[in-house]
Structures are given as C-alpha cells and as structure tokens.
C-alpha cells in the first residue's frame, strides 16, 4: 500500500483534487438552488409540500441510473456529475431547511408579522437565524453525501477518487481500492468536521 502511495502519489493527488473540485462545484450550486427554492416555498405551503415530495422521489432514484438518464442530455463528464449531485442535495437541504423554519415558535412569528415585517424580513431576520441549527445540519448531511456519491461519477468519466476505486476494482488491485475509499472517507470526515467547527464559531 505504501509502495503504491510512493509510486503513484501524484496520480492520487490529482484524483483527490478533481474530487474536491466536483464536490465544491456541486455544493455551491446546491446551496444557490436550495436558497432560491426556499424563497419560493415561502409563498405557498402547498408548493413546499409538493416540492419536497417530488425531491424525495428523485432522491430515491439510484445514482447510477440518474447519471445514465442524464447522459443523453448533458453527455459524459463533470457537468452531468455535478447536476446529479445538485439534484440529490436539494432533497437533503430543502427537507432540513423547511423543517427548521417550521419549528420556529409560532408566537415569535406572529409577533414579527404583527409588527409589520414583510415575508422577506421575517425570513431573513427571524426565521433563518432561529433555524440555523437545522440549516447547518442539512448542509453537513449534503456535504458528506456529496463526497461519497461523487465517487460514482467516475463511471461517466467525471474523474475524482472514483477513478482510483473503479480501476482497483477492475484490476483487483487492493491498494487502489483501499486508497480510493480511504481518501474519500477522510475527505467526507474532514469536510464534516470543518462545518461542525464553523457551526460552533457562529454560535
């Protein structure tokens, strides 16, 4: 194993950086899309319910199948991988964010509304800060899930740690399999710790 690391450490490093790139892109677009959808959900409870339901159906589609479905539309490669990751994350993010917003004390919401806060002011100044824990919990779950699902993106030539992993599987190379999994797990854990720290910092 160590031999493999010494001999191919540049290849592993490239894979790791590619992986990071996919994860970062996916997270940035996920958060932007989720923010937009959260805003839309403020206008209608019915819409919010339908949306989360639809996203849960999408989330239950196996990732390989979703990748395969998108290939005719967006081709092989990183773009398709990122789109799939963003779609999966919407369920994780929206469900957590909306649940957090719903749990804000109705008395607090009523007081704010009664003082003439607009829907937008209520969301930004009162509901979101009070739902902070749920929002960060959603982000953490989405991040860990993105790191691990991103390995599958190698199946459509998107690069990343998945290439090492799949190579290892094909050639029955244990060192490759182990390094691919280890790095991916370490990345997931590290990212999660980072967010946990950020959460404590903003307390």
């Amino acid at each position: 194993m160590i031999n493999y690391l010494v001999r191919y450490y540049d290849r592993l490093l490239t894979a790791l950086l590619e992986h990071l790139e996919i994860v970062l892109l996916a997270m940035v677009f996920s958060v932007i899309l989720a923010a937009g959808l959260t805003l839309l959900c403020q206008f209608s409870r019915r819409f919010a319910r339908l949306l989360v339901h639809g996203l849960s159906v999408l989330y239950s589609v196996p990732s390989l199948a979703l990748l395969a479905l998108l290939i005719p539309l967006t081709g092989l490669g990183k773009t398709t991988a990122v789109i799939v990751l963003v779609l999966y994350n919407q369920y994780l993010l929206l469900r957590n964010i909306l649940a957090g917003l719903d749990q804000v004390d109705p008395g607090v919401v009523e007081a704010a509304t009664g003082m003439g806060m607009t829907r937008w002011q209520l969301l930004r100044q009162i509901k979101l800060p009070l739902a902070r824990k749920a929002v960060i919990a959603g982000l953490r779950i989405a991040l860990v899930s993105t790191v691990s699902i991103a390995t599958i993106a190698a199946a459509i030539n998107a690069g990343g740690l998945g290439t090492v992993l799949f190579d290892g599987l094909r050639t029955m190379n244990t060192a490759k399999i182990l390094w691919g999994s280890l790095l991916s797990a370490a990345l997931a854990l590290g990212a999660d710790r980072l967010l946990a720290l950020a959460e404590r910092k903003t307390e």
């Binding site: 109705p106 008395g107 009523e110 007081a111 009664g114 003082m115 003439g116 800060p129 009070l130």
Partner: protein, 254 residues
C-alpha cells in the same frame, strides 16, 4: 373621533362548525381603555387579530380612524397598532435592546435616535437600560419579558395598543403592579387600548368600558358600573356573582 369600529364583522375558520365571531358591531373612541372579557375560546384573540389584519373577516368591515383597513396599506396598519401577544413572542436571538428597536430598525431610524428611544422605552416600562439592554430574553423573568413586549409594541408610538392577556402568566403581585403602571401609561399617552383578558377583576379594574364576549357574540358593552348595576343576561350575571362571591370570601378573613 372613533378609533376602532367593527361593522357587522363575522369570522369563521375553515372547517369550523360555527362562526368564531358572529356579526360583531361596536365602536371604540380615541383614548378609551376597553377591556375584552370572556371565557376561553369565545373569540377574544380572533377579535384582536382582525384589527391588525393577522386575520381577515369573512364579512363586514373593520375601520381604524374611519378608514377601511382592507384598502389601507397592510404594513401601515400594523405599524399604527402596537400588538402585545398572549405568548409574549420576544425574539430569542436578539438582545432586549434589539427587540425593543425592532420597528425603528425596520423604519431605518439612525443609530443615535434608536439608542435614545430604546433607553426611553425601557425606563418607561421600569427596566434600567444599563442593566437589561444587553441581556437576552431567556435571561429575564416572565414579568420582565412581558414589560419588554410592551416596550417593543410602544416603540414607534402607535395610536392604538392591542394587548392579548399580557399579564396572564404573572403572579398576582407583579400583575397588580403592571396593571397600575399600564393605567398610568394610558393616562399619560392618551392612546387607545384594547386589552383582552379572561379575568373579570382585571377587566373591571382597567377598562373604562368592558366588552363582554361569549360564543363569538357581544353580550354587553358598557362601563363597569353599569354592568354591575344591571348585568345584561344570565352569563354576565353569573360572572358578576362569581366576582362578588370571591369578594365575600376575602372579607370573611379581613
């Protein structure tokens, strides 16, 4: 000048068997202190929320200073009415000072003016700004939180104050103190008060007129003296009798 007027207002909640409020008509003059009295579920909170449009009536009109609130700007209606809710509803992530300054901040007052107003309001409700301004709501007692709720509602000097059982959860000594302070505040500011309570002693002590509500209907709306002299019907009489009964109970010990 009429401050608040209801014209044949009815309100039914979706799925409810009967109207929460049934054909309500009454008027409150500017500067009056009106208490709304009635048992739990009779529609007191609903009545208040129709005034700042947290609820919309199914029929009838609500007028503030002669203007139909449905045609008025929603935010303006809410800024003109200070609202102290049953559950207090302070913002737990903001300090006492920030809570009191909520509406001034929304109106983008400058910093110095907000600061001065916050201190003034906290003193008005009997909280020393230096001691309390930087604290969070969870670091205050129930009575102190209620005072902050009152200060927050008074912030931009609304002409009408809507108060929903603000002293419901307080011990009788704190309650009596706050009641006296509220009367002083009313005398000094000349604002119009609509004060909800289910406590007959409180209703008769505070109200220049008492609006008695039962099952979503007005059963009597008059001065405390007139109500005690000739209670309108069985329900009011039993209320008054219960209060007298309590009085006799205490007299026996004094």
């Amino acid at each position: 000048m009429t401050a608040i007027e209801f014209q044949n207002v009815s309100k039914r909640f979706p799925g409810a068997g009967r109207n929460a409020l049934e054909d309500l008509s009454f008027a409150v003059s500017e500067g009056e202190f009106v208490t709304v009295l009635g048992p739990s579920g009779c529609g007191k909170t609903t009545l208040l929320k129709l005034i700042n449009r947290l609820y919309e009536p199914d029929s009838g009109r609500v007028l503030l200073f002669g203007e139909d609130i449905r045609t008025a700007d929603l935010v303006q209606v809410r800024r003109r009415t200070g609202y102290v809710i049953q559950q207090i509803g302070l913002f737990p992530h903001w300090t006492i000072g920030e809570n009191v300054a909520t509406v001034p901040k929304l109106l983008k007052w400058d910093k110095a003016r907000i600061e001065a107003r916050t201190d003034e309001l906290l003193r008005l409700v009997g909280l020393e700004p230096e001691e309390y301004k930087k604290r969070y709501p969870s670091q205050l007692s129930g009575g102190q939180q209620q005072r902050v709720g009152l200060a927050r509602a008074l912030a931009v000097d609304p002409k009408i104050m809507l108060m929903d059982e603000p002293f419901g959860a307080l011990d009788s000594i704190t309650r009596g103190k706050l009641q006296r302070e509220l009367l002083t505040l009313h005398r000094e500011t000349g604002k119009t008060f609509l004060f909800v309570t289910h406590d007959i002693d409180e209703a008769f002590l505070l109200g220049s007129r008492v609006l008695i509500l039962d099952g979503g209907k007005i059963v009597q709306f008059d001065t405390p003296e007139a109500i005690i002299r000739c209670p309108a019907q069985g329900f009011v009489r039993s209320l008054v009798d219960a209060a007298k009964e309590r009085g006799r109970f205490w007299e026996a010990y004094l």
